[in-house]
């Protein structure tokens, strides 16, 4: 690739120019949002639209974080973090274990169970939302972290992914561990788990973002503002009546909401790509 760039100097410049333009187009709305979060409400609604940062950066973010519109944003960020972590970690643990059971143990109806898990792929939260609500309500888990997390924790995708990975692990490895005296759980912890760590990292990133971006479910089951998550919280910030929305604070909130997923991706990028590209065996 680098060779191609070196040889065709001019073409490379053109290509880069095109790419940079593309990036600018994609980034422009985000830039606008950032600008909007640094000016005062009045400046924002008065034409022309400001294109350079204003002086209210600290004030707006402070207001968003500590008082917000309904709930302080730090509280919603905390709720979102707990929910996203809970969903990601819960999904990974459950699917690691269920894939382990399906691949390494010969129990009656093994395949039936696998296909049952697989079938749930066709039932995302939106489809089963009414019965799920009913169940969660009956358990008294409305407005609680467990209510936010548990209905989303089962994961056919992750189970399937780990199943496929385990199937590529040579049988001899399990047998060698058995000869070495390792019981099934020991084999799982000492050998399968470390071998799947890049897969786990990749999945964690995907699932964390999936959890973070949950909208419908938290919207439905949290009525207490203290339990709002950030993604739904942004929507709640729009006033219902004729009040003017406090755009700068909303924009600050939106940017804050983007931060944790971006951080997770950036920090885990190496592991993430490794997990998707190579299977270390």
């Amino acid at each position: 690739m680098s060779g191609m760039v070196e040889k065709k100097g001019k073409a490379a410049w053109l290509v880069h120019l095109g790419l940079i333009l593309g990036i600018l187009v994609v980034c422009f709305p985000i830039y606008l949002a950032f600008i909007a979060s640094t000016v005062s409400s009045g400046d924002l609604v008065r034409p022309p639209m400001p294109l350079l940062p204003g002086e209210h950066f600290i004030a707006n973010y402070k207001e968003a974080l500590f008082s917000g519109v309904n709930t302080p944003v730090w509280n919603m960020l905390l709720n979102s973090t707990i929910m996203a972590l809970g969903i990601a970690i819960g999904k990974i643990i459950i699917s690691l274990l269920s894939a382990f059971a399906i691949v390494y143990f010969r129990f009656p109806l093994r395949n039936v169970f696998f296909w049952l898990i697989f079938l749930t792929l066709m039932l995302p939260v939106e489809v089963r939302i009414v019965p799920t609500y009913e169940v969660v309500a009956n358990f008294g888990m409305l407005n609680s972290y467990s209510g936010l997390i548990l209905p989303l924790v089962a994961s056919a995708t992750a189970t399937f992914l780990f199943r496929q990975f385990y199937l590529t692990v040579p049988d001899e490895l399990a047998e060698a561990a058995r000869v070495d005296g390792a019981g099934p759980m020991r084999f799982f912890v000492d050998i399968l788990l470390p071998m799947s760590r890049t897969n786990i990292a990749a999945l964690f990133v995907i699932l964390f973002i999936y959890g973070w971006n949950q909208y419908l479910w938290p919207l439905l089951m949290t009525t207490d503002p203290d339990m709002n998550t950030i993604v739904m919280g942004i929507k709640q910030m729009f006033p219902s009546g004729d009040d003017l929305p406090n755009w700068p604070v909303i924009m600050a909130t939106a940017l804050l909401a983007m931060l944790p997923p971006v951080l997770v991706v950036v920090l885990m990028q190496n592991l993430f790509i490794k997990g998707l590209v190579d299977t270390e065996k």
Partner: protein
């Protein structure tokens, strides 16, 4: 004193019986090799001894103790797998130490044992590496090391050398033999390579379709194969088989040539003569029409047909280097004890 006994051991997968009652006794410190063609059940038999496969019927005893129901670990065996089965995320040291850690040995003891095995296998400088940073031969040695550190009663090898190139295979073969001698551990070794089998084993078991064809010392099997199958399987190039008819102490081959045979045999027979037991002799009765010649350097291998028939015959001619030295039709005589006779159902007679 680790003996290993199999008493009428059978194995079925569902309705298919693949091992049909195998009996044998392996003595302490003995090196037994199981050979046979692909799919004859060698691995299955070995895995039953290891405890990785259930035993359908019969009994397996290690040190005179029934082990049918025991886990591999409780049988105190160690196994070396064909593809090594090293733990990819563990260093060489951890690979070898894993079983000792599970057995809850002390740190110092573990280190001493692993270092000792590493020295024995010339792995000392690689202890920190991961398996993928090793060559095939080195991985093979790590797999051996993992088996050695446990001080098992029995070593089980399932085609451990088949992933190595020819030269390394010869080298590792010698190393395994030496190691087994030095450690004095009863060993069972599965292979389909008959050179490995002949050179490694104190005794050799030929398995065919789940039946034991013959069990004895390698040279016994070579000199007195118990069946047509063993005769053709052991020895390279393999034995020539010619149809014939025996009567009054004489064997008449299909092309009418008469050879002195045993007086106890009568009726249709198959005559077996090893390529190396035919010697060039102008007065010999066996005439061979030359086909292709393979020049191996030290000797020449001639593939041809028995004159007066279209039966394929191979002859090994030591000391002959060039094909041009050979006539189109050559006469051979059979060396003493070179003629094996088998009945129509393949049994030695």
């Amino acid at each position: 004193m680790a003996t290993l006994n199999l008493i009428d051991v059978k194995k079925s997968y569902g309705k298919d019986e693949v091992i049909h009652g195998v009996n044998f006794d392996i003595h302490d410190k003995e090196f037994v090799v199981i050979v046979g063609p692909s799919g004859c059940g060698k691995s299955t038999l070995l895995r039953m001894m290891a405890g990785l496969e259930t035993v359908t019927a019969g009994e397996i005893k290690i040190k005179d103790r029934r082990v049918n129901e025991l886990e591999p670990m409780e049988r105190n065996i160690a196994m070396v797998f064909q593809n090594y089965a090293l733990y990819p995320h563990m260093s060489v040291f951890d690979n070898m130490a894993y079983s000792l850690k599970i057995a809850k040995l002390g740190k110092a003891e573990i280190k001493a044992r692993v270092d000792n095995a590493a020295k024995l296998l010339q792995l000392s400088e690689y202890l920190k590496r991961k398996p993928r940073q090793l060559s095939g031969g080195q991985r093979q040695r790590v797999a051996m090391g993992r088996a050695i550190v446990r001080k098992p009663d029995v070593f089980l090898f399932d085609e451990p050398l088949s992933n190595l190139d020819a030269k390394l295979r010869v080298q590792m073969r010698l190393e395994i033999k030496k190691l087994q001698r030095d450690l004095g551990v009863t060993s069972v070794y599965v292979t389909h390579d008959q050179v490995e089998a002949m050179t490694l084993g104190d005794r050799l078991m030929v398995l065919n379709g789940g039946y034991v064809e013959q069990f004895g010392s390698p040279i016994d099997l070579y000199e007195r194969p118990a069946s047509l199958f063993v005769a053709e399987f052991i020895g390279s190039p393999s034995m020539n088989i010619i149809d014939g008819h025996a009567a009054d102490g004489v064997v008449e081959l299909v092309n009418g040539v008469r050879l002195p045979g045993s007086s106890e045999v009568a009726g249709a027979v198959k005559a077996g003569i090893r390529p190396e037991h035919l010697s060039l002799d102008p007065a010999g009765v066996i005439a061979i029409r030359k086909g292709v010649a393979e020049q191996l350097g030290s000797s020449t291998l001639v593939h041809g047909t028995l004159d007066g028939s279209d039966i394929a015959i191979s002859v090994a001619l030591p000391g002959v280097h060039r094909e041009e030295q050979l006539d189109d039709v050559m006469c051979f005589s059979v060396m003493e004890q070179g003629l094996h006779l088998f009945s129509a159902d393949g049994k030695r007679v």
